[in-house]
Amino acid sequence: MTRERKINAGLALALLAFPLWAYFANEPFMITLATKVAILALAGVGLNIALGQGGLVSLGHAAFFGIGGYAMGILASHAQTFDPIAEWPFLIEGTKSMPIIWIVAVLTSGLAALLIGALSLRTSGVYFIMITLAFGQMFYYFAISWPTYGGEDGLSIYVRNGFPGLNTLDPIQFFAITFVILMLAMGFAAMLAKSPFGLALNAARQSPQRVETVGMTPYRLRLVAFVISGMITGLAGALFADLNRFVSPTMFSWQTSGEIMVFIIIGGIGRLYGPLVGAALFIALEHILGGLSDYWHIYLGVLLLLIVLFARGGVIGSLAGRGHAHD
């Protein structure tokens, strides 16, 4: 249909083609990079539901990313040491099964999003940005100083968790898992945007009064969106931890929240494929610029600045023209 659709299809193909090329060219690290792009894009897809559709500028999504990561770290480390997580009121054992870890990651981050959202959504605008930041920082400091699971050192898992029927240590197979999840999440996000709930949520962003006068409560719509958003970002956190076989409090830091947000802005706020483009571009820049100079952050900064100042609507916005997205 639209130009954006064509671009999107191209992007999905590119994300699939790149690791396949790397596989045949025997460049496993390139597959790892593509996997990282897919996972970070997934985190972005999560945040974009709150940010792009709900207009909720959360600078605390690292909290969910980190919770997902620690869900993996804690479960897997207990499985590694055969040391149950809890024996009372009932026995909870660690696990090395990805599907179970994902479920736990999604549920715990959803629960955290429910709590954080319920409190934060009482505020709006910059206050919302800052209170979500505050919650993120609480998790960060907690994770750093809580010694049971490694504190600032984090937790290392020596072998990647398993998925029935697949060898997850093989880069291309792990990529396949993340790719499928990313596509499912994007499909879900696309469906959400068009669903009755999405319609109401988008309207609540544009005109909360309007939504109220037709009998719906923006607060509740936003809270549900925030929880869904947190769950997806949490899932991305679990995958990210599995990619690195390692979790640390850095996942909770405000820079992590900032980076996820940067992906979205680079790609284009509210654009379905925005997070993917943003994450891919960011990682590519990091990879290419990092090789050029010790001071590559300067170039990154200048590039970001140019994107904000001159490519309004992000990369997809610039390519596809003004479509269905807000400034």
């Binding site: 009755p196 319609l199 309207a203 009064q209 109220e212 006068t213 409560t217």
Partner: protein, 249 residues
């Protein structure tokens, strides 16, 4: 009072030293259009806000169909059948006209948390929405982005969204504002036809429209109702002429 669809009893509201509403009691009876007029800053929009639930009165009560709704929020009042339009259009500007109308239908249906299926694909929602658009004559623009509508068309859309709620009472804040003479005439005719469905509390500066439509007029000055009566009563009222209409009217 008992047969009033919508009524306020002794509403008062102040902003610091400013008394925006003072002991206001007005009512809206079945089938009527009750116009509320008064100078700028008299407190008309403030009163509408309190009736619709956007603002809590300091004192007094509001009744819809005899039930006290003072404690309810905006959304709850809307669910009970109170539909309002805004002085400054409040619409989802990035969405299409149809989407705005479907939003109204969705609110009326009361199940906003459906994540499966598309909003525009739900036959029941769509039927309600299209019917409302049809009534205000916006069906041709169903696929237009709302931000591309003219001022007048936005006012029509506001009314259409209110219609999707199938309300018991309308509260309209300056629906004619910004419409040309022709637009006002059309909307006047339309509002006239609307009163059979539900009565309208109408705030309006357009005296042509008010004098054509209103069954009763209340005049609000400095937060107080200084007169209520028929068109002729009000035109003849010396206080009203002094405070609002002036000598030329």
């Amino acid at each position: 009072m008992t047969d009033a669809v919508l009524a306020t009893k002794g509403i008062s509201k102040s902003f610091g030293a400013l008394q925006a509403s003072l002991d206001i009691s007005i009512d809206l009876r079945p089938g009527e259009i009750h116009a509320l007029i008064g100078p700028n800053g008299a407190g008309k929009s403030t009163l509408i806000q309190q009736i619709a639930g956007g603002m809590k009165p300091d004192a007094g009560q509001i009744f819809l169909n005899g039930q006290d709704i003072t404690a309810l929020g905006t959304a709850a009042r809307a669910k009970r059948g109170l539909a309002r339009t805004f002085q400054i259009s409040a619409l989802a500007m990035e969405d299409t006209v149809l989407q705005n109308a479907v939003l109204g239908a969705l609110g009326a249906q009361g199940r906003p948390f459906q994540v499966f299926g598309t909003a525009l694909g739900k036959a029941d929602l769509r039927a309600t929405a299209e019917q409302a658009l049809d009534r205000v004559g916006l069906m041709d623009h169903a696929k237009t982005r709302t931000s591309e509508l003219s001022h007048g068309q936005r006012r029509q859309l506001e009314v259409a969204v209110a219609l999707t709620l199938n309300p018991k009472a309308f509260v309209m804040d300056e629906p004619m504002a910004g419409l040309g003479t022709r637009g006002s005439k059309r909307l006047t005719g339309f509002l006239d036809s609307l009163r059979e469905q539900a009565p309208i509390l109408l705030v309006e500066h357009d005296m042509d429209a008010v004098f054509t439509l209103a069954d009763r007029i209340s005049v609000l000055v400095y937060g107080q109702i200084i007169a209520t009566g028929t068109v002729d009563d009000i035109r003849a009222n010396a206080d009203v002429r002094r405070a609002y209409l002036g000598d030329d009217t």
